[in-house]
């Protein structure tokens, strides 16, 4: 898993509410069995014109925001579908962090598994960051530090603390494989299930038709 410690770079302001995952990556680009290739379709509907040319009015097509590593957005960023290709597309484009007052819950979880840090800050603070970025024509860099849990925009003297869920924070900092972490608890899980099976035996066996086939040896 990709780690995250800190990032300092260009921040792109997209101060809209309810930026949903259909906007982040339209469903027609979700197909395919490749692990990569989604950054090219990030915000495709807004980023490209009907003829496929870049839309000059779209922020990520404008320098220096085309090099942005931090995204500033308004509330409910990433609402909508569970598509994990939304954080993948953001990460592939070059983003390492999204700062917003709130996030769609499934998207929020998906970010941590894709090396992208979602940072929750009050809207007033996100707006201060966005205003300072715009005033500097994008040159003022925003720093996000997961160790100290701070967001700073040194040029405007802005520094804000945030709080990431501790377990997810450690996962990102250390790049721990979450599945390995859980499998290390095998004995604890088995013991718990032993008791749960007494209470809810029906939850463990689906009585209907048997599974489709026996597993491969």
């Amino acid at each position: 898993m990709e780690t995250f410690t800190a990032v300092c770079g260009v921040a792109a302001p997209m101060m809209h509410i309810n930026i949903d995952t259909d906007q982040i990556i339209p469903a027609r680009y979700l197909g395919g069995t490749d692990a990569k290739g989604y950054g090219a379709h990030l915000f495709a509907n807004a980023r490209f014109l009907a003829d496929g040319q870049p839309n000059p009015d779209f922020v990520l097509n404008q320098a220096p925001y085309d090099q942005a590593q931090v995204l500033l957005a308004d509330r409910n960023f990433g609402c909508g579908s569970s598509r994990e290709r939304a954080p993948k597309a953001l990460r592939e484009f070059g983003f390492r962090s999204v700062i917003a007052p709130s996030f769609g819950g499934i998207f929020f979880n998906n970010c941590f598994r894709n090396g992208l840090l979602p940072v929750v800050l009050p809207i007033e603070q996100v707006r201060q960051l966005a205003d300072a970025v715009l005033q500097s024509a994008g040159r003022a860099e925003v720093a996000v530090d997961l160790n100290s849990q701070t967001v700073t925009l040194a040029q405007a003297g802005l520094a804000f603390g945030f709080s990431a869920p501790e377990t997810l924070r450690q996962m990102l900092l250390q790049g721990v494989d979450e599945i390995d972490m859980t499998l290390a608890r095998r004995a604890q899980i088995d013991a718990w299930r032993g008791q749960d099976r007494q209470r809810r035996p029906w939850a463990y066996t689906a009585p209907g038709p048997a599974p489709s086939s026996s597993p491969k040896p």
Binding site: I106, R113, R199, S212
Partner: protein, 470 residues
């Protein structure tokens, strides 16, 4: 004496294997449902990492997301370019791993969230996850169900557990008798209009109140389907006699003595009378009328008989800006009457509103009438059992005679996966999302109940069934 707990608290506690630090809980997952879009990613990742499924008997795969809705479709037929490979990959993997597998031509096939309650895969007091945000639908039978990403699904495959942060408790009470012509879809749209599309962030939502007690399971499924549209990952109706009557005898539900034990256990999960909720919303349904969305978020909604609201009526500056963008995108003006706006397409389908009761309501409106010439009218039943039951009742004839296309079951046109049929068109739809481009490039989607969609199909413009098209 233990402190009073909500239904949600009890289900959560009964799945809590261990706390992971201050903020996360490792939960037992009772049912994992996979489909060929994200499921294939999860299964492939599992294999690539050299891992095996932990509890294959608790994993169910349904072919439904990318498979074509064309009657007589082939096993890998899809309008998505990458559909065939994803469908077949998911099929092969599901068979190889020995998951419960429901293929494109299985008589039990359908949209996962329609199939899961139909087969008793979703049960009260169980945790059920699926790589689809509308997994919360099956909260309608009292399951604690939520959408997950493909990485989380890989974790569930490998461990049959998942780490989650515990949300806060919200109760939404719908009180009063449901007026004639008002359906579960109208309830949930009205709720989202009231609390906003982000009103449920960080909450698990219990739906309650006298209107819900009276609501059949299919309506409860519609209601819970759209919990995620106000950004609650979880929405559910705690089980009652209606739930037990619905689930008794379903193929994957417990049988015999196990059923009795399960019902006893489920009855004990109800919210304690003294339980407190972190937030409560009460909606009086007595005065509700059919709802239709006018914008690009489900919160952009009003009564069908109303006029498109002024952006200045929105609660804050950002919402006003979004409302203005919505009007531009939707090619509507503030103050314009919604009824009478000409439509190009009427769509009945999706995990929200394509169950048998939905098709019956629509057929009642359509019977003996014709779709307005020039309007494309499409019905995609929520599952193959729904389709077959509708055909047995002759509903398919009513739809077809009225001028509707009658499709095979799948997710269909709810999301745009490659068919540009709705590009640049105005669609009135029984689906759940009116996001920009959701149903196609520049497609303008209006969300409404099946009754309203059927009435609009006949009128050729937004119309309510009560109002009557002719």
């Amino acid at each position: 004496m233990s402190p009073a707990r909500t239904y949600f608290d009890k289900v959560w506690d009964d799945h809590l294997i261990t706390a992971l630090g201050q903020d996360l809980a490792l939960l037992q997952i009772d049912r994992l449902v996979l489909h060929e879009l994200s499921g294939s990613q999860a299964v492939r990742a599992l294999a690539e990492h050299g891992r095996a499924p932990d509890s294959r008997g608790q994993v169910f795969t349904v072919i439904e997301h990318l498979i074509s809705t064309r009657p007589g479709r082939g096993p890998n037929e899809s309008v998505s370019v990458s559909g065939p490979a994803m469908i077949d990959g998911t099929r092969q993997a599901s068979r190889a791993y020995g998951f419960h597998f429901i293929d494109h031509d299985d008589p039990r096939q359908g949209i996962a969230h329609v199939v899961a309650p139909e087969l008793g895969i979703a049960l009260p007091g169980t945790t059920l996850v699926c790589c689809d945000s509308h997994t919360c639908t099956v909260g309608g039978v009292g399951a604690l169900a939520w959408g997950i990403g493909a990485s989380e699904a890989e974790h569930v495959l490998a461990t049959q557990t998942l780490a989650q942060a515990k949300p806060k408790n919200m109760r939404v009470r719908f009180e009063g008798p449901l007026p004639r012509g008002v359906y579960a879809k109208d309830l949930v749209l009205a709720l989202i209009g009231r609390v906003g599309a982000n009103g449920g962030i960080g909450y698990a939502v219990e739906f309650a109140g006298s209107a819900i007690a009276q609501l059949p399971i299919e309506g409860r499924l519609t209601l819970c389907n759209m919990a995620v549209e106000f950004s609650a990952k979880y929405g559910f109706v705690p089980p009652d006699e209606v739930t037990f009557d619905y689930l008794r005898g379903k193929a994957y539900a417990p049988q015999g003595a196990a059923w009795d034990d399960a019902v006893r256990y489920w009855r004990g999960l109800r919210s304690d009378p003294a339980a407190t909720f972190d937030a409560e919303v009460v909606i009086d349904v007595c005065a509700l009328t059919p709802q239709v969305t006018w914008g690009i978020s489900p919160q952009h909604v009003c009564a069908a008989l109303d006029r498109v609201p002024e952006p200045s009526a929105e609660r804050d500056e950002e919402a006003r800006a979004e409302a203005q963008k919505a009007l531009d995108y939707m090619q509507l003006s503030a103050g314009q009457a919604l009824c009478g706006v000409p439509i190009d397409v009427a769509y009945i389908g999706s995990c929200t509103n394509a169950r048998l009761s939905d098709l019956r309501v629509a057929a009642q409106v359509l019977k003996g009438h014709k779709v307005k010439p020039g309007v494309q009218a499409i019905c995609v039943p929520g599952s193959t059992p729904v389709k077959l039951a509708a055909e047995a009742e002759g509903l398919d004839r009513i739809f077809i005679d009225a001028g509707f296309e009658w499709h095979a079951s799948a997710c269909g046109f709810c999301g745009h996966i490659g068919d540009d049929r709705f590009a640049n068109l105005r669609v009135i739809s029984t689906t759940n999302r009116n996001f920009k481009g959701r149903q196609g490039p520049l497609t303008r989607t209006h969300l409404a109940s099946p009754a309203t969609v059927a009435a609009s199909a006949l009128a050729g413009c937004i119309a309510t069934a009560e109002q009557g098209p002719h």
